[in-house]
Amino acid sequence: MLGEGIIKGMAETARNFLGSYHDAARLTTVEFPEDKIPAKESARNFPFLVHDGEDAMQGLRCVACQICEKECPPKCIFIIKDTNKKPDYVGKLQFQPKVFDIDVSVCMSCQICVEVCPFDAIKMDTDFELGGSDRFGGLLLNKRRLAKPNSYYHTIHPTEAAEVDGRLAAEKAKVEAKAKADAEAKAKAAAAAAAAKAAAQTTPPVVASTPAAVVTPAK
């Protein structure tokens, strides 16, 4: 019968229309911005810099190695190294960025900077509501605007952040253990040296008659 196909289609439309009143699978829209779908754990939008501790600038993990700047596909990262060094999480002196800018109007959210970073310093944010009135300056994020605490990283990517923290802690422990071992070895060596020195002091001078004899410690 001519028109049968159309009627069948209409029935389908009616089923969807009525279904949208009681079936969540048929009504999938959310009233943004009142309602929001929670961000997925692996969601990514633009990068941010992770810092440890309270002071954002002191706690930045970034060591200004500029790998991300080189690897960034659209070249939206801009770094100038500072000449002053600051200690990193294990206490080793490292460079820090004097300027660290990301132009998010150019950034394509590809996450390659995160992948290539050997220091877990740059991570992806999930914040997408970046509207502003300044098209150029407002979207050029400097290191103060980019810096976010590790606790924030934990709230947006808990699994990944825990893994990173575990890795960093293990590294730190390793470094500390090494430092401890080094210190022990040093202490031992120092003790040995001191013992040798003491031994040298106790031995009487060869020429006892010289009053101003300088005692040289044994080498």
């Binding site: 049968e4 389908e12 692996s42 790998i67 960034c72 394509m108 390659i112």
Partner: protein, 397 residues
């Protein structure tokens, strides 16, 4: 009509428009006999992006059609030659922005051919799963767009998008982004599946059959659709082969050629699936082929989700930093939803490719656009273009 005449003529209103004097030397008969040249696009809702067709019309009939490209040209190949191998990966997402996973795979496969990296078993399964999900996304979108072009405004497209959203959610929880996934890496994948992903995917795939049933009930037997699309834009098989047409368009013309069967790249030899073929090569066949292909994809997905093994997801020899393939060249290709997507790479041993070439199925499938449209009406040209399935990000690169 001269300028002074135009100025002195009374302003056209609803009242006097009819009685305005006709320009000297024209008559209705002459206007009817002229060929009309129309530039359809670049900003035309039916061209699926910024694409232009210069059409010459005799009345309603198309007598000549020349596609004009380049409005979205950003020289992707040159960008890739000036950047590292890895940094090109997110750019491939933006070629055919509906199918970033298959674009990633094609590029990763070519680099693997170039370097000899071998993805582990689990990565191969993940690739098949994501590629077939991408095929579902692409075909679902396409049939929505195609029906939109035919005048089924809104409803089918919205149903299609509702279903597509479920897969995009899967992509987001896997790769972090809904469309620009940037997920695959040379020798494997970037991240392992998050907890519960497989169950969620199985649920989406399980519900897809019902969606396809509903969609077919909605429109496949619709008399208007049948009348609009059957016998329109016929593409003969010989012409299709000679013009390097690939993908569903080729198979709708009855040529049994699917790279998943012909090349058996990845692990496609483990999946028994059929290749649907058309026998008329018209718009309706191209529409039906995509519906049938989705059913086959669902079968592949069900098997892959069942069989996926545990294990590493990337070749241990793969390097993120300091990746330099040794000199040589390779051409790798896969069956992406639109056809054969190939990447041709020449390495000179440096971190950047010496030559990087994308073989875009969307562009090459347009070779026969004129042949299909000749003698058809303008309205048919719109749906013929819709049935080719182009994405301008890939056509212009």
């Amino acid at each position: 009509m001269s300028e002074s005449e135009l100025l002195s003529a009374p302003a056209p209103t609803a009242m006097n428009y009819e009685i305005r004097p006709k320009p000297a030397g024209t008559s209705d008969a002459e206007v009817g006999g002229e060929l009309l040249e129309v530039a359809m696009g670049p900003h035309h809702p039916s061209t699926h992006g910024v694409f232009r067709m210069d059409v010459v019309l005799d009345g309603e009939q198309v007598v000549k059609l020349k596609p004009v490209f380049g409005y979205l040209h950003r020289n992707h190949e040159k960008i890739a030659e000036n950047t590292t191998y890895l940094a090109s990966m997110p750019y491939t997402d933006r070629l055919d922005y509906l199918c970033s996973m298959t674009n990633n795979w094609a590029y990763a496969l070519s680099v693997e051919r170039l370097t000899g990296l071998i993805p582990p078993e689990r990565a191969e399964y993940i690739r098949v799963i994501t590629a077939e999900l991408t095929r579902l996304v692409n075909h679902t979108c396409l049939i929505g767009f195609l029906l939109q072009d035919m005048g089924a405004l809104g409803t089918p497209l919205m149903y299609a998008f509702r279903q597509r959203e479920l897969i995009l959610d899967l992509f987001e929880s896997l790769s972090g982004s809904r469309m620009m996934c940037n997920y695959m890496r040379f020798g494997g994948c970037r991240a392992d599946l998050p907890a519960g992903w497989l169950e969620q995917a199985a649920q989406v795939v399980g519900g897809y059959g019902q969606f396809l049933d509903e969609f077919q009930a909605l429109i496949s037997e619709n008399e208007i659709l049948v009348a609009r699309s059957q016998g329109v834009g016929v593409l003969p098989a010989e012409l299709a082969i000679n013009s390097s047409i690939t993908g569903p368009m080729l198979r709708a013309s009855g040529v049994n050629f699917d790279l998943r069967k012909a090349d058996r790249y990845g692990i496609y030899d483990r999946f028994p699936f059929r290749v649907p073929l058309g026998d008329h090569g018209d718009v309706y066949d191209r529409y039906m082929i995509r519906l049938l292909e989705m059913r086959e994809s669902v079968k592949i997905l069900e098997q892959a989700l069942r069989e996926i093994p545990a294990g590493p997801i990337i070749d241990p020899k793969a390097k993120i930093r300091g990746f330099r393939p040794k000199a040589g060249e390779a051409y790798g290709r896969i069956e992406c939803p639109k056809g054969e997507l190939g990447f041709y790479l020449i390495s000179d041993g440096s971190p950047n490719p010496y030559r990087y070439r994308v073989r875009p199925p969307s562009l090459i499938n347009l070779t026969v656009l004129e042949d299909m449209c000749l003698g058809q009406t303008v309205a048919d040209a719109v749906i013929i273009l819709g049935s080719v399935d182009i994405v301008l990000g890939e056509v212009d690169r």
